[in-house]
Every structure is written in C-alpha cells, then in structure tokens.
Point group: C2
Chain length 212, copies 2
DNA sequence: AAAATAAAACACTAACTAGTGTCTAAAACT
DNA sequence: AGTTTTAGACACTAGTTAGTGTTTTATTTT
C-alpha cells in the first residue's frame, strides 16, 4: 500500500526539498558556484545534509535540479514578436538592450554564465542548448530571410554583441570598474554601452538596406 | 658575513623558484585557477611545498608573482603604430583580429580572463589596469581625435567587441561549440567572427566619414 | 678538511570536505 | 490506539586541504 509523503508542520519532504533548492540559489548568488558545498547548502537550508542524499541522490543532482528549474531564455522568444516590417531592426535593438538590462540586474544569471565557461556540466550544457534553440527561432524566422546571403554575417555580429553583453556584466565590479575607459558600474556607462549596441544594429541594417 | 645562495646541481634556490612558477603556469593551463593547490603545485614542481613558504611566503604570493610575471598586453601598444592616415580604421581591425587570434591560441590567457571575472585579487586587478592603460594610449592618441564628439561611442563599441572576443574564446568547447549558430571550434566559424569584427569597424568608420 | 648555513625531505597537526550508519520521533496507516 | 514508515538529528569515518616543526645533507665559507 502506498503511503502519502510526510507533510506535517515539522516534517515535510516537499518543503525541505524547496529549502535545499532555495539554498543553492542563495549560495550561488552570494558566493558563486565554488561555494556550493554540501555542508553549506544544508546549513543554509536548515535541514540535515543526509536529506540531500535521500531526496536528490547527492549534491550534484540537487544542483542539476536547481539549474534545470531556471528558465533564463524564455523571455527571449521569437513568438512574442508582433508585426515585423523592418527585417527585425527594432526587434534586434530591443533584444540586445533588454538582454543587457536583464543580465545586468540578474546576479544569479551572471554566476550561471560564469559557471558555464568555467566547468563542464550537463545541466549547464542544457542551458546553453536552450539559448541556442531560442535564438535559432529568431534567426531562421526573422533575420535569415532579410539578410539572405549575409545571414551568417548577421549571426556572427549578434554572437559578438551578445557575448560582449555577457562578459561586460560578469566583469564589472570584480577586479575593475572600467573597460575601454567606460565605467560599467555607473548608469552613464551602461547607457553608453546600450547606445553603442543600438548604433551597431542601425549601421548593420542601414548597410543591408542599401544593397536592396 | 654574507653567504652566496646555494646554486649547486642538486640544491638550487633560483632553479626551484622557477620550477614553482612554471608549475603554476602548467596547472593553470590544464586545470584552471581552481586547481592551484599547494600540494599539487609542489608535486608538479617536484620540490617540497615547504619551499613555497620559504621562498614566496605562501601560495598566494607565489601565484601573485606568477601573474605579475605575465605581460599579456605589451603586444597591444599604441607605440608600435606606424603612420595612421585613416583615423585608425586599419589599425582597429588589425587590433581586433589579432586579439582574437591571440586569445584564441593562448589557453593561459583564457584562464586568466576567466579568473579575472571569477575572483577578486590584487594581481588580477593589476592585469586589468594594465590593459586599460595600454588601451587608453590607443584611444586618446588615435581614436578620440578622429571621432571627436563620438569618441565615447567608439570606445563603447570597442568595449563590446573586445568583450565579445574574450567571452567567445572562454565559451567555446566548455559546454557548447556554437553561439548564435556559429561553430566556434571550427576554422570557418572563427573566420566568420573575425570577418564580422572587421565589418563592424568598417561600418563605424564609414558612418563617421560621412559626417565629416 | 672542518664548520656553518641553507636547501630540501619527511612527518605531523588541524581544519575542512563528502558521504554514511544509527537512532528518535513525527506523521500516516490500520 | 497501536503499528508502520520515514523525516530528520547526531555522530562518525575517511579523504583532502594548508601550513609547520624536525631532521638530513648539499653547498659554501673558513
């Protein structure tokens, strides 16, 4: 006979699992991925570490479950695209500036991005794959048709710009504040970066328009 | 009475110090900064770890001395700039593509760049400061005068492009091969990225030329 | 050649790490 | 109400880590 899981006010499996997942997020945000030790996670959650092994099988599985629960790229989907008549020019600019703000304000995402270039891990690969899949929608549906034989060039340019957004946000405030003389910790600096992103897109589309 | 340091074929302080510094570089390249443990460094060097404390004062000082010994940015100086008549257009393109190749082939630099966004450390800050100083020469001497009121925009664009170069090279081969559909592990992909960098510079200069 | 000095080997401690076995008591079932 | 099950507390082991004290011995000095 199957038995319900304990859900009392003192002993509650689901609540404890949540506590562990929350603890992972909290430690990740404050100490980064290298701070994710079993003992610390258990202490932060306020639940015995034994439960990590019982519920998840181990620290790695807990961490993977945490990572899988994140959904960073769903906000960047090609479906929420209204009428596009400019080949995606405005959409591209919005995507980049929104990505900048999003990464800039999401410390957790910054840590995950860092983790993603620091360590091999299946769940991190999945995150990268999801980003690629979401992006592919945008490229194949909007940009590729417009840029036709220059489609790969547009993709390359977007790769550089998005990578730049990632790096600049990981970079700021760790061992420096400025990059190429731009103070990334100041509102003025971030505005200039966002302006530059938009400028590059404008130039790229202008250049493409001329050819048509 | 002062005494010469031991310089025999078996006991040799300077040679051992070199061995330690070499070991740090070797471990950094293969395992990254998180692999820099005293015991491993000593084992790799083939010298007792006690000597790390005797010679350098500790692991941190050894690592700092290693980092300080690096000179990544000397290859990018504004002095080696010949006659510039195009406002630095060709120079900018060369700088970016050369930086791409340099970072791409220098695994050690990639690890240092990663380290620089992962941990606060004085010697890493010095590296960042040096890069900023070297870049400042280029900007103030070549680009700022040419771009005049758009000087900050040029700097912002360069910040994004260089950051993009850094990130893409840290990114490739860890948890993914492609970014925006560009395969960064293939020669074709890197050529496309370099081409895109040059294209952006061309567009930026073209745009500036029109205004003058 | 003998004495002095410093390079380096070896052994040890203490702190922290991941993971597990045992026991208790709260919650669910009969 | 009594029994069963399992959430959770506690204690323990084993491995890894940084750092140090002691001893040996190669090299330099006298």
């Amino acid at each position: 006979m199957k038995r319900k899981a304990a859900a009392g006010t003192i002993r509650n499996k689901e609540r404890s699992k949540e506590k562990f997942l929350d603890a992972v997020g909290q430690i990740l945000e404050t100490k980064g991925y290298s701070g994710l030790k079993v003992n610390d996670i258990a202490a932060t959650a306020g639940v015995d570490k034994k439960m990590i092994y019982n519920y998840f099988g181990g620290t790695d599985q807990l961490i993977d479950e945490y990572i899988s629960s994140l959904d960073f790229w769903s906000n960047v989907d090609g479906q929420s695209t209204p009428e596009i008549t400019d080949g995606g020019q405005e959409f591209s600019k919005q995507l980049l500036t929104q990505q900048f703000d999003y990464v800039s304000h999401n410390k957790n995402l910054q840590k995950i991005l860092l983790w993603g270039v620091a360590e091999k891990r299946n769940s991190l690969r999945t995150i990268a794959d999801n980003r690629e899949q979401n992006g592919e929608q945008l490229f194949s549906q909007v940009a590729d048709p417009y840029f036709s034989e220059n489609a790969v060039q547009y993709r390359s340019i977007m790769a550089i710009l998005i990578s730049g957004i990632y790096y600049l946000n990981m970079y700021k405030g760790v061992n420096a504040e400025t990059f190429c003389g731009i103070d990334l910790t100041k509102e003025e600096g971030t505005q200039q970066i966002k302006g530059a992103l938009e400028k590059i897109i404008d130039l790229v589309y202008e250049n493409q328009n001329k050819k048509q």
